[in-house]
Structure formats: C-alpha cells, structure tokens
C-alpha cells in the first residue's frame, strides 16, 4: 500500500477515537513542550551571558585596590602601597598583549538638575574607559585633554541618568550639580541595559579622574594619583592567562610586595559570568532531562493505546489480510498510526512551547530562544518514540493469523 494511503488510513483511525487520541497524545505534548521550554530558557540565558560578556568589553580584567594590609604595619608616608594611574601606564607599556588599561575611581553622589534629583554611581575616568568597556557615545563628545588635566567640571552621563533627570529634553550643555559641584554635561552614553545580575549598567556618570578626586566629597585616597581600580582589556582572549600572570608580577614588583596579602586583586569578570552561566546551564539541562522522562511516559501511553487499538481492530486486520495485505503492510499501517500520533503530539507540544516562552518573555522578562535544531530534534525524537513504542503492537498485529483474526469477536 502506498505510504500516503497508509497516512490517510491512520488519520481516519485517529479521528474515530478523537478524544482517546488527544488524551494519548497529551503525554507527548507535555513532554515535548517541557523539553523545548527548558532548552529555550537555557539558550536564552546563554545568549544574555554572551551579550553581557560583550558589554563588559570582551576580554577584561578588573584590578581592584584592596584595603591596606591588615597586619597593622604601615609604611612611612610616600611608600603607601596602592594602585595609581602610573600602574595603568606601566601595564599598557610593559605588557604588549594589553590593548588598554583604564584607571577608575568611583563614588556615590546626589545629582540634581532643576527640581529633579537622582543618585547614580559616579566614576572618575579618562577617555580610555570607552574602549576598555565598549562604551559608545549616543550624543556629545569625549573629555578634552584640558578637562582631564585641570579637573574640568564636565560630565558624560548614562542613559538612565539622562532619562531620570532630563526626560525627553536635550542634556548637552546643561549644568547639573553633583553633590555641591556644578558640572556641564558634554555627552550621553549609548544604553547597555541590565546585566545578568539585574543591575542597570546605564545608571552612572563619567567625570575626569581629578574632578572626582578633588571636588566630590568623601574621597580619601592614599596618594594624589591613586585610583580604585584598573580596567584592563586584553587584545586576544587566548592571552588571558599569560596577561594575568604578567600583571600580577608587574604590580607586585611595582608595589614591592611578595606575600600572599597583596594590596590588589585581579578579577576576570567574564569568567565569573561564565561560571554563573554554566551553573544555570547544568540546572536547565537537569530540568530538560526530567522533562524527557515525561516523554518516555508518553511513549508508554502510546504503546498502551496501540495495543488496545490492535485488539479492537482484529477483525479489520483479518479482513485486510484476507484481501491481500502482507504482514509488512499491517506492520507499516500501525507504525504509521503511532508515528502520526506522536508527531502530531510533538507539533502541538511545540506550539504550546512557543506560546509559553512568548508569554514568559513578555510578562516575566525571561529571554528564551527556541533554536531550530531543538525543534527538529524534539519532533524527530517524538516520531522516534512513535516507532519505538509503536513497533511492538504493530508487530503483534502483523503476526496475527488471518483466520484467527477474521473469527475474532
């Protein structure tokens, strides 16, 4: 019998017991939907992580200045061990794999414009921060040399600060007060959005290093050119380990320290993010594995119903055999019926998965990505379940003796 005729016969058979067919499919529907949703959420999380790593500036180390040695021993004035702008220059010059090292200071301050006020993170930076963290300017310009050298009263603001203080109006050239210091807005940063920890990356203000040091209250730095951290970008990701070693050695040498209690700490942000992502992926994989158990259970349901169907239709099988159906024809007929049941279940499961992930994205803020290969895989997998669990009942049908089948009551 031609395969499309078999499909037609199978379709008719499924329609005859519509309710039963749907209930049978339910196991497959739920299984496929659950697997696809889990994998989609996993893929979405991975995508966000990739995005965040890209936003972090790709291959980036952050060198933090640590609080001074807790042993109580303090060096004489002038020998204070801390990170400075000169360390940034030394790293850039002496480690050729480093493309840029940007010194930063940060503080919190109240920012006021007109009757609006906001409390963003205030960063003292120079223009190296833009390549180091992949910042782009939406409007305006970077800092000039004069502004950097003379603690100029200028600021470049993040997208969130612009929205909170200025709304729709143009902030360029406007004067805002940072704590008590009036500064002029010269630029606005392109928005980066939230990172995976849910922190708003655009809630910040950039000002020249000296401006923050000298004019923002509450800053107590150990040396005139001290900074809180260095953001170090490596040209090639493959050099990360090497750069980390060399940087450690260089900074220790510069600060004349050898012990375990170094006054700085090197952290690889993308590595932290990736560790988090890996944990999440393992978790999602686990959930997908649990979901695939329900696919298995669904498959057993299919087998059960196919066995019932074979028994119910024994006379039909006998008749088909009497008029010339070979055992292989009968086998194929029931296999196709089981496969059709599973594939339809798979398609319905896919539709449900699409609906659920869409609403998760819309109402719960998840990122979910249904990859095409996952779709093919799950539909293919459910058809395989149909073959696997449909084979035994179909074979049972094909082994019937025509004369016994015809006499079956």
């Amino acid at each position: 019998m031609k395969w499309w005729m078999l499909c037609k016969v199978a379709w008719v058979a499924l329609q005859v017991n519509l309710m039963r067919s749907i209930l049978t499919m339910l196991g497959i529907i739920i299984g496929v939907a659950a697997v696809i949703i889990m994998l989609a959420l996993g893929a979405g999380a991975q995508h966000e992580v990739d995005q965040q790593i890209k936003n972090l500036g790709g291959n980036v180390f952050v060198v933090f200045a640590r609080g001074r040695a807790s042993s109580g021993a303090r060096g004489a004035s002038g020998s204070v061990q801390t990170l400075t702008e000169m360390d940034a220059e030394a790293i850039e010059q002496q480690i050729p794999q480093v493309s840029v090292a940007a010194p930063t200071i940060w503080a919190n301050a109240q920012v006021i414009y007109g009757n609006m006020n906001w409390a963003p993170s205030v960063r003292g930076v120079d223009n190296r921060i833009f390549p180091a963290q992949n910042w782009q300017l939406a409007h305006g310009r970077e800092f000039s040399a004069a502004e950097l050298n003379s603690a100029g009263r200028v600021a470049i603001i993040g997208a969130t600060v612009q929205r909170e203080l200025f709304g729709a109006s143009d902030p360029i050239g406007q004067t805002i007060r940072v704590d008590r210091t009036p500064v002029t807005v010269i630029g606005v940063l392109d928005a980066k959005g939230q990172n995976t920890q849910g922190n708003d990356q655009d809630d910040l203000i950039f000002m020249p290093l000296d401006t923050v040091r000298k004019r923002i209250a509450g800053m107590t730095l150990a040396s005139p050119r001290a900074v809180r951290s260095l953001i170090v970008q490596v040209a090639d990701e493959r050099d990360m380990a090497l750069v980390e070693q060399e940087m450690e050695a260089l900074l220790r040498q510069r600060m004349r320290t050898t012990g375990t209690d170094a006054p700085f700490q090197i952290r690889n942000l993308s590595e932290m993010v990736e560790t988090r992502a890996r944990t999440m992926q393992i978790f999602n994989g686990l959930l997908a594995a649990v979901a695939s158990v329900s696919l298995l259970v669904g498959g057993i349901g299919i087998m059960n119903i196919m066995l019932v169907s074979v028994t119910e239709r024994t006379r039909e099988i006998g008749l088909r055999m009497a008029v010339g159906a070979e055992p292989a024809d009968i086998l194929r007929q029931f296999l196709i019926e089981a496969m059709l049941l599973c594939s339809l279940g798979g398609l319905l499961g896919l539709s449900i998965a699409v609906l659920v992930t869409r609403s998760l994205e819309k109402f719960a803020g998840f990122t979910a990505i249904i990859q095409p290969e996952v779709v093919l895989l799950s539909i293919g997998f459910s058809a395989m379940i149909g073959i696997f669990f449909g084979y035994y009942p179909a074979r049972k049908a094909s082994k019937l003796q025509p004369i016994d089948a015809l006499r079956h009551e």
Binding site: M1, K2, M5, V12, V16, R315, E316, G318, L319, R320, M321, A322, V323, G324, A325, E326, P327, A328, D329, Q401, P402, I403, L406
Partner: protein, 249 residues
C-alpha cells in the same frame, strides 16, 4: 478433464487438543473446474469451514496440497499467501466485513490498494459496484446501507481483483429471506457470466441454487454430486407474489 482452477489433494488438518489429536480434515480430494457453482454443506464440526479456509489460503494444511491453477501453494510464506489471496481469491463473509467510515467505493478498492502495481485507477471498482446494482451508492458509508446493499458491496469487493474463484461463507446467513434470495440471484448471474463460485451454507434451500454439492461429515467428503440447480430468480418471483397475496388477504 481440463486443468482445475483450484484443487485439494489428500488435504488433512490435525489439531492438537491437550493429549488428543482432532482430525478436522482427513484426506479430502476435490477438483474445481472453471465456471462451477459449488455448495459446501455439512453439520458444524464436519470440516467444511476448515476446507474453505484452506481453499482460500487463509490456513495451511497439516498434510496434502492445495493447487491453484496447477501451482502448489501449500508451503508458501505468509507474505506469498497474501499475494496469492490478493490475485486469485475473492472473499464474501456472513458479516460482510466492510470497513466502517469508508465509502462503498473505497471498500471495493481495498484489494487493489495492496497490489504493488496498482495505478490508482478506480474505473474497474466503479464498474464492479455498478455490476452489483449500487451505481448510485458509491459514496455511501456502510452505516448508510441496508444489509443486502452491504453484502453487494462485499461481493463487488470480491470481484474487483478478477479472482479465479469467489469463496462465500454463509453469505445469506445475516439476511432476511427476500434479500437472501436477491443475493443468490446475483451469485447465479455472476456464475452464468463465467465466475467460479464456492459457497458454504447449512441451508439446503440455499445449496439448491448451486449445480454441484459437496457434503462433509467428520472431516471427510461424504458426497460430491452434480445437481440440477434451481433458479433463484423464479424463487424470488414466487416469494414476492406470495408475500403480495398475504398482504392483500
């Protein structure tokens, strides 16, 4: 004697029931010629059904042979037997055995669908339905047809593969007298057109329409005789006239 369409040679079937051996058939020789109309009779347990099943290649003998147009089909595989049934045998059953939710035409087409060389041409199937008088009901489902009409669809299905022999197992058993007579009339017409028909029945009235009667008893052929067939058309006419009189009276 010309080549038999279908014949049995020393046909034996033995069942094992516990420690006892039951001989359902014990050496039956029958030769059926082209164009015969044969009634197979006998009490239940006589072996007539076992004989029919083996003629139809639905069951295989313990010993002996079945030959269809001279070819020994006794030791063929299940798939090969299916092909033999598909090509040489047409079945008509007591309970019609039509596929529900399938049109009359699709029911008739069924044997052709199991042919590897079927080209999707439905003309002969419609022709067969027309032959049994159901030209107007090709798209009806079995549930929309009367018992007699359903049996006609089944007969059309038995004709569609142009079989060497039509095997009918109690074809009137589930029908009322008048419809049964109509079906027998159709069988007689088909026989006159050259079809070979073998019919199992336990009613002598039905067997009377055949031209040769085989009577089985205890697994053996008790008698095998040519008879003068009665006309189903005449019986039908007489029955209808009588019924009309009763209606008037």
């Amino acid at each position: 004697m010309s080549q038999a369409v279908i014949e049995s040679l020393g046909l034996t079937k033995t069942y094992r029931m516990g420690s006892q051996q039951v001989h359902a058939l014990a050496g039956v020789d029958v030769h059926i010629q082209q164009g015969e109309f044969i009634a197979v009779m006998g009490p239940s347990g006589s072996g007539k059904s076992t004989f029919m099943n083996m003629l139809g290649c639905l069951d295989s003998p313990s010993s002996g042979e079945i030959r269809i147009q001279g070819e020994n089909v006794t030791h063929l595989s299940a798939a090969e037997l299916a092909r033999i049934r598909n090509r040489y045998i047409g079945f008509v059953f007591q309970q019609f055995n039509l596929l529900p939710r399938t049109t009359a035409l699709d029911n008739v087409l069924l044997p052709l669908l199991y042919r590897k060389d079927h080209d999707g041409n439905n003309d002969f199937a419609s022709e067969c339905l027309r032959r049994v008088g159901l030209a107007e009901r090709m798209d009806h489902h079995p549930s929309q047809l009367s018992g007699g009409q359903q049996q006609r669809v089944a007969i059309a299905r038995a004709l569609v593969n142009q079989p060497a022999v039509v095997l009918a197992d109690e074809p009137t058993g589930a029908l009322d007298t008048e419809t049964g007579l109509e079906i027998m009339q159709l069988f007689q017409q088909l026989n006159q057109e050259g079809k070979t028909i073998v019919l199992v029945t336990h009613e002598p009235e039905v067997a009377a329409f055949a031209s040769r009667q085989l009577i089985f008893r205890d697994g053996r052929l008790q008698s095998d005789k040519q008879v003068q067939a009665e006309s189903a058309s005449e019986h039908l006419a007489r029955y209808r006239a009588q019924k009309q009189q009763e209606g008037l009276a």
